[in-house]
Symmetry: C2
Subunit: 362 residues, 2 copies
């Protein structure tokens, strides 16, 4: 049954391949249609916990892996296959899209991303260029094409990008941050410069995301990984309008998962920003979270990622608690509340996927 | 008017000094009695942003400052005096109480606290000794006596301690942590060892806190600085019972501020754990936070600490937004949502205190 949500996928049964994607577990759940069991994928499923990933990663740097389509495709496809998850997610990073915007980005060993020319004043905002056209990010779209070519016909491919606030905080802080002192200082002291920066990011994101869709992605996840540092009134004023601008600009027909971590009090506003599915981290009770965002959207999440460090009976009971809270309501996509940690035993991730498929069976 | 809360201060007008404390702004607000204006103090008010603090701190290490009562008293008293706040808070740290419990603690330059013998297994829990008596922490109580002797008679002195979960996470991780992987792994894999550890912490905290009260503190704040990493069901199971045990063990007649940061979804459970006043960080809307914890307790908070980096008109409008949300309801103690940052201009902190007293006047 088609939904009323803005980005719901219209039926397209003319091509068998498209029909199988359209009727896949994940795409059905995005439309809140019943599925045979609960679909599941794992944030950062192609990651360092996985020996198959490490085998590829050991030969190249992180940024090379992002920029070599055949390698990005390989780790994406392998993770989907070995885990048996219901979606693949493009292997990529949030930040390379900033390079053609004038950002000097480096991934330092063990340090994470560093931006050598952070933007901290109104004058510096002027040199932050909007992404007018996306050809310099062709490596991303080439990876999408390779992945889509080789993925099983019933497995959707998720594209993704950072939400404007999260990208802005990287650009302003010059890397990850504990307190977002510099970001919020600019926000509070120069709202004009802030708005200019965020609008450039939002327009750039729309182009980047739509090019991912054109290349073959079936759905999109937005990651607002750092917006949890904002109060509700600050999120509403300084972040939400730009996330909404991105979602409103995404090509109709492609469902959007809108994910934010770090502050359950923002959930009503996250919903207001848009999306067909709202991502719940683990800080909120699942049933309470779905009630809060409303049953007219789907939800994704919300197992604490550290659950994967537990023994299997404990992991099972924790997964079951989430599924019990979902109570079989169509529109639930099982996932962790945030990305899987490198320390996690890969067998536990595989076991979790099986548990969800078994326990979620209707 | 006395309240029904368990730790409310009974009137004691027999001694003029006690009467002035009893009728101070802060103590009245803790009992949800009307005050002439909104009381205000600043978490970490004796901290690195303050030149008077740095002048003392430059001569000794951080741990020496904690352990030399005359210096701890000096920075405590100076901060209260130069800011004009309605409370002093003992200068101390959460972790030195762990040393007599068998923890090998070091404050490394620029690195924060490091514990050289973290506790990670059931066997290691056995060597974590309960604090049977508090004489090895006499430096804390001596500081309390010195401060109380020299504080103005209408300025209460707050004692404080970490909540059991926050202390446990330090003990297990060996320092601060991003993901609490080791803490939660122990919690999930060996609940018996976890419970033993938490009970020892809770009983030790009761003795430590009551000794602060005996030495001269008028109220106590508990800091659960890291519990925001827990889901509501995990907080209820693994943290709340032990926080409740501490609060229930605090000498009756001394009000308790129960503070947690990082997860607004825990507020109903924080309330359930106890306390006369519930601390709100900045992630939650003030009015929504007070409604959530109930109007039969006071609230403290909740200005985003980065607001102090803004220009004064912005700071004023942000402070006013909190006061407007409190709507003059008795029982509001103005504070930041977490500690003041070292980068903040001290004049802004002084200006904030004046703004609150002016805007909060009844």
């Amino acid at each position: 049954m088609p939904t009323t949500s803005t980005n719901a996928v219209p039926p397209n049964d003319s091509q068998p391949h498209d029909a199988r994607l359209h009727n896949s577990r994940l795409m059905k759940a995005m439309r809140r249609e019943p599925t045979d069991t609960t679909p599941v994928w794992i944030m950062r499923q192609a990651g360092r916990y996985l020996p198959e990933y490490m085998a590829v990663r050991s030969k190249v740097t992180f940024i090379e892996l992002c920029k070599r389509p055949e390698l990005a495709a390989e780790v994406t496809l392998t993770a989907q296959r070995v885990l048996g998850v219901d979606a693949a997610i493009l292997f990529a990073d949030l930040l390379p899209m900033l390079e053609p915007m004038g950002i000097d980005l480096e991934y330092q060993k063990g340090e994470g991303p560093v931006i050598h020319n952070p933007i901290r004043t109104a004058a510096e905002v002027d040199r932050f260029r909007e992404l007018e056209e996306v050809s310099s990010l062709q490596f991303v779209f080439d990876a999408v094409k390779l992945i889509r070519r080789d993925l099983p016909a019933d497995i959707p491919l998720l594209g993704f990008a950072g939400s404007p606030f999260t990208l802005a905080s990287y650009v302003i802080e010059g890397g990850s941050s504990k307190n977002y002192l510099t970001t919020k200082s600019l926000m509070y002291r120069d709202e004009g410069a802030w708005t200019t920066l965020m609008q450039r990011l939002a327009r750039s994101l729309v182009r980047y995301i739509n090019a991912q869709i054109d290349a073959g992605c079936q759905a999109i996840q937005l990651f607002d990984s750092w917006a949890g540092c904002l109060s509700p009134s600050d999120y509403r004023r300084y972040a939400m309008p730009f996330t909404k601008q991105v979602i409103d600009g995404i090509r109709p027909g492609t469902p959007v998962i809108n994910f934010l971590t770090g502050n359950p009090a923002l959930l009503p506003l996250l919903r207001e920003a848009g999306g067909d599915v709202i991502g719940l981290d683990w800080r909120v009770d699942f049933a309470e979270g779905w009630r809060t965002v409303g049953y007219d959207v789907g939800v994704q999440g919300n197992l604490d990622p550290v659950s994967l460090m537990a023994d299997l009976p404990t992991l099972r009971s924790r997964a079951k608690a989430v599924l019990d809270a979902a109570a079989g309501r169509p529109g639930h996509i099982f996932n962790l509340g945030h990305g899987v940690f490198p320390e996690v035993p890969p067998d536990n991730v595989k076991a979790l996927v099986q548990m969800v498929h078994e326990l979620g069976a209707k």
